[in-house]
Symmetry: D2
Subunit: 319 residues, 4 copies
């Protein structure tokens, strides 16, 4: 039966985490995307408003719709509010200790927009490797490879952040560079310029973790920095991760920089603030590249809450 397909490999890679485990599912233009978050202790009160706001951040709706457009956010994000439907694990706003399943239905599915993808592979996208790996793919809007999948991560990560907040641990990510620009006040202008040209641009996100006690992380393979890198590098379009002195530190002698720990020593948190940075490439789907449809000029802007979510899902299993 499988003989029609080139490569048949099971996927079984849709679960993240060890104590809190998050299983993600859903195609961009199927019935729904969603997830199951298991391991959440009983009795946690979930702030549904906070989850809604985080989803809005991911959708680029932090400000007015006009501003969003100048920031280069795809119109779909505006038209289709992400409404979470809770299926299990929560009763009267409190977690039950049982798996929390939720879905976000795909209301704005317009597969006809993507009909041309049935027989075309977009440059810089996963269309072709999916076909090579599975022999079959949901061609509608990238299917499983769509960044829409990260909405589920944001929901789960937001629950994790609420648990961490109770322990005094906070996570804050922000965009610190767009193209060659490092002044945040000038980011919108720069993005708008690339948007107008039908082009796109990358960005660097910095994330700070405060309140993490010393002793978190395991010293050999599961070093805290390795866990964080694994989490962050799993976000679409992320091309690099560094912490502490990072890549730039290579030019400095030990005597100048060895007091900088980045919050981790020997793979274990040392009780000081943890600082890491990650870089996101420009989206390949641009008018300039011949792709009409929806696109963002700078996907790094929408990756900010996803970086926080993956960081939270990492830490909540370790604390």
């Amino acid at each position: 039966m499988h003989t029609n397909y080139a490569i048949i490999v099971p996927m079984n890679s849709n679960t993240f985490g060890e104590n809190w485990t998050f299983t993600s599912f859903g195609e961009s233009h199927g019935a729904a995307i969603g997830g199951v978050l298991d391991g959440v202790p009983a009795g946690l009160r979930i702030d549904m408003d906070l989850i809604r706001r985080e989803l809005d951040r991911r959708a680029g709706k932090v400000q007015s719709d006009d501003v969003q457009c100048t920031k280069g956010v795809s119109p779909r994000a505006v038209r289709e509010p992400d409404e979470v439907e809770w299926l299990s694990g929560v009763m009267d706003g409190l977690t039950l200790g049982t798996p929390i399943a939720f879905i976000i239905r795909n209301k704005d599915a317009r597969p006809e927009d993507y009909e041309w993808l049935k027989t075309n592979y977009r440059v810089g996208h996963a269309d072709k490797v999916y076909e090579q790996k599975y022999g079959i793919r949901d061609w509608r809007g990238g299917g499983r490879a769509s960044a829409r999948e990260t909405a589920g991560r944001v929901v789960a990560g937001c629950i994790a952040k609420q648990e961490l907040a109770q322990k005094g641990i906070t996570i804050h990510a922000e965009l610190v560079q767009v193209g060659t620009e490092t002044d945040p006040d000038k980011f919108n202008d720069m993005i708008a310029a690339y948007q107008r040209e039908g082009d796109s641009i990358g960005g660097i996100i910095e994330c700070r973790i405060t309140g993490l006690p010393a002793g978190i992380g395991e010293p050999i393979f599961h070093k805290l920095q390795a866990e964080l890198a694994f989490a962050v590098m799993s976000i679409n379009a992320c091309k690099g991760f560094e912490y502490g002195t990072g890549f730039d530190g290579v030019t400095q002698p030990g005597s100048a920089i060895n007091h900088i720990s980045g919050g981790i020593a020997g793979g274990i948190s040392d009780g000081t603030e943890i600082v890491f940075r990650c870089v996101f490439k420009p989206t390949p789907s641009t008018p300039k590249a011949g792709v009409k449809g929806r696109h963002d000029a700078c996907v790094a802007t929408r990756a900010v809450p996803v970086v926080e979510a993956m960081t939270a899902l990492t830490l909540v299993s370790l604390t």
Copy 2:
């Protein structure tokens, strides 16, 4: 925040399997029960009718409703057909290689029937240990501990059976003992008798695996019999597992029984038919025990497709 609760332990135990992983979720009287089956190869055509029939077997609807009642099946099973809603992973009847999420909505939820359970623990049920473990529980009909959870296992297991069938591997379980009775023709009468008395009775299920090639199973901790025992002992009300010569073999000298392998040698399948048996206790919720509501006189009857499902989910990860 958690200080109100006696014991706070994460649950993270709702995933089964290594290559094909099945994550189960849902409370008996919440919005829905369901699951996510990950690791299914792309291109498998799913027989939706077969899944429906397996769910009917689990619900006790193998014959007419009248017969079911004499067999001691709870009326809920009759009133509430289990309809599967597919959320992801399947397109045009073919698997995509991505996680397959599905739900079965709880249509017949009548929490008022269970109001008394808010403040009472049923003997032989998990009500009290849930309260001790989580400090909170969904008291409606057993919540997560309800046997309704096994419907999701049957859906996932049926997909696994379809994959195995393509490889020539078949799994067949059947009831071989009810109380002291070993003649299948007399099972219905015996169950009906216990039903009339407001009592309940246990049963033994035998399961046979044919077509499994030699070499399946790992020789030390993950012996094939250990994997099967783990799978089957996770079914509600199961109190024992044996294979090959089993417990009765203790009375026989080696010279008499050492040619009987039960299909496994040193933890590895030897290419012959595998035979194992498992025992299910009587349901504790009976009129005689003071529990009104829904109940089955012999839950072993409905466990048969669940035993097959768990066996299939075990084997499909190993073959």
Copy 3:
């Protein structure tokens, strides 16, 4: 390169446990058997004498050598004392929190005794399936399939028992049936009789866990009884596992036995004593079966400390 071999399947099954993980290695007649126990908290003082006594129990040296022989213990166990060499993880008798590696060298390796096994498969042994699975095997004394592998489990389990003892949890297993005999005073005579006839006989071991608090075990797939069954069924020659009312309970109505929990409700410990039983088959290697070399008339006697060890390794990850 692998084309010479019939079936090439990776083994990766030599690790047991989730929080305390025990990795076992070694062939019966190679350089050494041993293991790595990871996850042990720092600061545990290890009682080396207790470990030695447990190894003696497994070797059958609980009494004088003469008695051992009448009890049907292989002469190798007497000639070759199991001396543990500690490689890491322990300093000044205290655990460091790092992995504890240890080996037991194979001093009494006499491969020439097994030369005939190069080209012969013993009935009831794993010789043939190893050849089928791996295409290659260490034929010397069963290699990896030898029960000698369980010595490593006993060392690791004994460390787990010491941790559990500090929490007030005790594990006690004992032989309760040999053949048809249930009077322990008559076990030695019965075993000696089978020994004289060049035959062998099975046995049933009962294990009791006391002091385990309510709330241990996970309610769906990782039920406490499923974890225990998995652990115990992984021991060589074990053919069945039951707890609470077990298989015999099938003949009793719910009204008669539903107060018997066996210490577990809904997969979770209920705070009462846990009782389970497991059955071991007779050894197939007997003079009567044409196998000269070493053998035991009743391997169940030596399985008692292994049952305790696997139970301890299971519980120590959950408590």
Copy 4:
């Protein structure tokens, strides 16, 4: 019993990989370091010479001893050849399919050199966090945190490389930057200069994977780049990982760089060469920092075979 210690957390983090699993053990100045490699198929012929050469690379003995010193390699590496003792899993030079255990004894242990570390924490080292995490530590030469632990990784990785080589997959890492220097011919001079000053300097390693077919890697959490980042960031002193366009790509518009995949699309290999880079900080243990004892002026030089080993252990589980 544990009340003497500040934080008691299990470690259980000494195993890497899913199909091929490598478990590492051993303190720098204990009896031995070593590991267990499980999941290796039966019938692989192991090239022992290659393993020896790889260990020499890690020890810095690629050239004459004189050159080593100018390259800033610690004298211990020269005095103490790493001899591998094989304990299991190999017979007549062929793997058995069973776990391969090996040790390297610590011959040159001079704990008296480290006596001062009993009561001192070195800046930039893990001494203090180990004490905080475990409440106890092996102070002799860093104990478990010593880079000596990576010798075991190199042995296991070399076996993985031999398996990959049979499939036409090759891994090649090399130093591409030391301090501000990018000309390899000038690396030795630059390192020697820092050595003379009693200081140290970082380096960047580039690694190329060729021959990997399209379709390797899982599209959501277990993206190939996430797996590689996890593996490489677990190496001591590594501060960052990037692939493809990496951090520098942030300054380029999508139209200029979107054709550069770095060998991976959507988390899945696309069949072209994979290129990634990682940065290693300068060692903090220098005369300038007041640390006498052994040290290397540029640990990045010795990390090259470790990067290859961790890459090999990652890929061998996925191919």
